[in-house]
C-alpha cells in the first residue's frame, strides 16, 4: 500500500512559491505497475521523488509498508574517487546486505555491468555508458516491492539495452513499477494502470489506452521546446501514434474515458471546471 496523506509540495523559484501539490490525498492501487503520465512540469517526477523518499513534502506524508527503490539507474550518487565496487558495496550496506549477501550482490553487479577491470577503477574515469551500466545493475540487484523508473530505459548500446529489458521483465514478476514516461510503448509494456498527473491532482485509469488518450487529449499545448516523445517504437504491436502536438483546439472538455476513480484535486476553491 502506498498512500499519500494531505501531501503538499512546493518549490520556490525566483522568489515565488509554486505549489506542485496541495493537500493531495490518494491511495495507490495495490499490486499493479503504475505509469505516471502528464505534461512536462505537471509533477510526475516530483510525485515519484516524494514516493521514493528522495524529496520530503512540505506537509503531509507518504505512508507505505512496501519497500521502494531509489530511481532506477541513478548514477549521480556515485563517488567519483571510489571504484564501482566500493560504491556498490556502500549502497548494499545501506540496504542491509552484509557478508555473503553483500558479496553476491557485488558479483551480480560486476557480471551484469560487463565493464571488466574498470569495475575496480575510480568511477570518475568511466564513460557515461559504463556508469549507467553499473547503476542499472545495482538497481537490479535488489528485490524491491516497487521500482521507481524515471525514463531511463534507453541507456547503453543495443546489447545492453536488450539485456536490461530482459532483467527488468524478470523483475516484474516480483516487483511492481512506478514508471514516469512519455513513451507510450514503455507504458503499454510495463504498466497495468495509468495515473495521470494534472493540475495538482491525479486521475487513475485502469484501462491503459484510456489513460493514454486522456493524456494525449490534454488540451493544453505541449511546450514546444521539449518534444514530448522521442518514440522509438520498441514493440510496434499496436502502431504507436506519436503524440500529435495538439493543434489549437478549442477548450474541449476533456472526457476522461472511463475514469475509474477520478481523484479530484483537493484544491477546493475551483469547482470542477474542465481543465481550469
Amino acid at each position: 500500500m502506498i498512500e499519500l496523506r494531505n501531501l503538499t509540495k512546493s518549490y520556490v523559484t525566483k522568489g515565488k512559491r509554486r505549489y506542485v501539490f496541495r493537500n493531495l490525498s490518494y491511495t495507490f492501487p495495490d499490486d499493479v505497475s503504475i505509469g505516471l503520465m502528464g505534461r512536462n512540469g505537471a509533477g510526475k517526477s516530483t510525485l515519484m521523488r516524494l514516493i521514493g523518499g528522495i524529496d520530503t513534502p512540505d506537509r503531509g506524508r507518504v505512508h507505505t509498508d512496501k519497500s521502494i527503490s531509489w530511481p532506477v539507474g541513478l548514477s549521480g550518487s556515485f563517488q567519483g574517487t571510489l571504484s564501482a565496487r566500493d560504491n556498490v558495496r556502500f549502497v548494499c550496506r545501506i540496504y542491509g546486505a552484509k557478508g555473503d549477501a553483500l558479496r553476491e550482490k557485488v558479483r551480480f553487479v560486476e557480471d551484469f555491468a560487463e565493464i571488466g577491470d574498470y569495475f575496480d577503477q575510480p568511477v570518475k574515469t568511466y564513460s557515461s555508458g559504463m556508469r549507467s551500466r553499473v547503476a542499472f545493475g545495482l538497481s537490479m540487484a535488489f528485490d524491491f516491492d516497487y521500482l521507481l523508473i524515471d525514463e531511463v530505459m534507453a541507456t547503453g548500446d543495443a546489447h545492453f539495452r536488450a539485456k536490461s529489458q530482459q532483467v527488468l521483465q524478470e523483475k516484474c514478476s516480483r516487483s511492481k513499477m512506478i514508471l514516469v514516461s512519455h513513451n507510450m510503448a514503455d507504458i503499454r509494456k510495463h504498466c497495468n494502470v495509468v495515473l495521470l498527473v494534472q493540475d495538482g491532482g491525479v486521475t487513475l485509469f485502469e484501462d491503459i489506452e484510456a489513460g493514454i488518450r486522456a493524456y494525449q487529449g490534454d488540451p493544453k499545448p505541449v511546450t514546444p521546446v521539449t518534444p514530448v516523445t522521442p518514440v522509438t517504437p520498441v514493440t510496434p504491436v499496436t502502431p504507436v501514434t506519436p503524440v500529435t502536438p495538439v493543434t489549437v483546439t478549442p477548450v474541449t472538455p476533456v472526457t476522461p474515458v472511463t475514469p475509474v476513480t477520478p481523484v479530484t484535486p483537493v484544491t477546493p476553491v475551483t469547482p470542477v471546471t474542465p481543465n481550469n
Binding site: G52, G53, I54, D55, T56, D58, I68, W70, P71, L74, G76, S77, F78, Q79, T81, L82, D86, R89, F90, V91, R93, I94, Y95, G96, K98, D100, A101, E104, K105, R107, F108, D111, F112, P122, M140, A141, D143, A158, H159, A162, K163, Q165, Q166, V167, E170, K171, V234, T235
Partner: protein, 282 residues
C-alpha cells in the same frame, strides 16, 4: 521486441530468496546503525583523497605544529614547569584542538560532498554528520596515540594517568565539535560565503586556547576572560590527566564544557530540524 540471446543472468536473489522472503523488516535503529557504518567506511576511503596524501598530512599537521612551537619557545625564556615535558605539553594541547576544529570544519563541508547520497532514502544529512564526527574523533585519537608513542620513542615520558577521565573529556569535546559543526553546516548551507570566515575564526581561537601556555601563567585578572573559551577548559583538563602535578586554575571545570556541549547540540539540532528539508534537497 526480439531479445538478443545472451547468457541468462541469475538474479542475485535466487539463492537468497528464501532468506529474503522471511526477511524481517529492519527496525529504525538497525537502519540507522547500518547507514552510519556504511558512511563511516565510505568516508574512511574518501577522506584522504586519491593519492593517500591526506594520511601523511593527518600526522604531519600536529607533528609540525608541535615541532614549530617547540622551536619558537626554545628561543624564549620559558616558564619552568616542574615535572612537565614540553613537547608532551604541546602535543596534549595541539591534538584536542585539531580534533575539535577538524570535526567542526568537516561537518560544515559535509553537505557538499554527500548531497547526492540523499537519493537513497535511508541516508539523511544527520547520518553524514554523525559518521564524519565519529570518524574524525577516532582518527585524531589514533594519531594522538601514535605521536605519543613517537615521543616515548624519542625518550620523553608520556603517561596517561586517568584514561577514563581522558576519554570522557575527549568524547565531550567531540560532542561539542558535532554541535558546533551542525550549526556551521546550517550556516554554510544558508550563507556559503560564511565558510571562509569560519576558517579564519579558528586562528585566534588557536592562540586563546592555551595550546602553548598553561592558564596559570596568565595574570589573575585576565583569566576570567579566557575562561569563557571552552576549548581552554578541555585542553587544561586533558593535560591534568597526563601530568601528576599539573596545577589547574580553579575556574577550569568539566561541568562547563559539558554544559557548552549540551547548549551547542541543542541549538545545532534545533537549527537542523528547522532546515533539514532544504539541506537534504539536492
Amino acid at each position: 521486441m526480439p531479445l538478443i540471446p545472451h547468457k541468462n543472468y541469475p538474479s542475485p536473489q535466487d539463492s537468497t530468496r528464501k532468506k529474503a522472503s522471511n526477511r524481517m523488516k529492519r527496525s529504525p535503529w538497525q537502519i540507522q546503525k547500518t547507514v552510519i557504518l556504511a558512511l563511516l567506511l565510505r568516508e574512511l576511503k574518501t577522506r584522504f583523497g586519491a593519492h593517500r596524501l591526506g594520511v601523511i598530512w593527518l600526522f604531519l599537521e600536529p607533528a609540525l605544529q608541535t615541532a614549530l612551537l617547540m622551536f619558537i619557545f626554545s628561543f624564549m625564556q620559558k616558564q619552568a614547569l616542574i615535572g612537565i615535558e614540553f613537547p608532551v605539553f604541546l602535543l596534549t594541547g595541539v591534538m584536542p584542538f585539531l580534533m575539535f576544529k577538524s570535526i567542526a570544519m568537516r561537518l560544515m563541508n559535509s553537505l557538499e560532498g554527500n548531497k547526492a547520497l540523499f537519493a537513497y532514502r535511508h541516508v539523511t544529512p544527520m547520518d553524514t554528520f554523525v559518521a564524519r564526527a565519529v570518524l574524525e574523533a577516532l582518527l585524531y585519537l589514533a594519531v594522538f596515540f601514535i605521536l605519543a608513542c613517537g615521543l616515548i620513542a624519542l625518550g620523553y615520558r608520556v603517561e596517561l594517568l586517568r584514561p577514563l577521565e581522558f576519554m570522557s573529556i575527549i568524547a565531550t569535546l567531540a560532542g561539542m565539535g558535532l554541535g558546533l559543526g551542525l550549526i556551521l553546516s546550517v550556516l554554510a548551507d544558508a550563507v556559503p560565503a560564511a565558510k571562509t570566515f569560519v576558517g579564519m575564526a579558528f586562528m585566534p581561537l588557536y592562540l586563546l586556547s592555551g595550546i602553548f601556555f598553561p592558564l596559570t601563567i596568565i595574570p589573575e585578572q585576565y583569566r576570567e576572560w579566557l575562561l569563557w573559551n571552552p576549548l581552554l577548559h578541555a585542553i587544561e583538563l586533558v593535560r591534568a590527566t597526563f601530568f601528576v602535578n599539573y596545577s589547574v586554575d580553579n575556574g577550569i571545570s568539566f561541568a562547563y564544557i559539558f554544559s557548552v556541549t549540551i547548549v551547542l547540540m541543542f541549538v545545532g539540532l534545533w537549527l537542523y530540524r528547522y532546515r533539514r528539508l532544504e539541506m537534504a534537497s539536492s
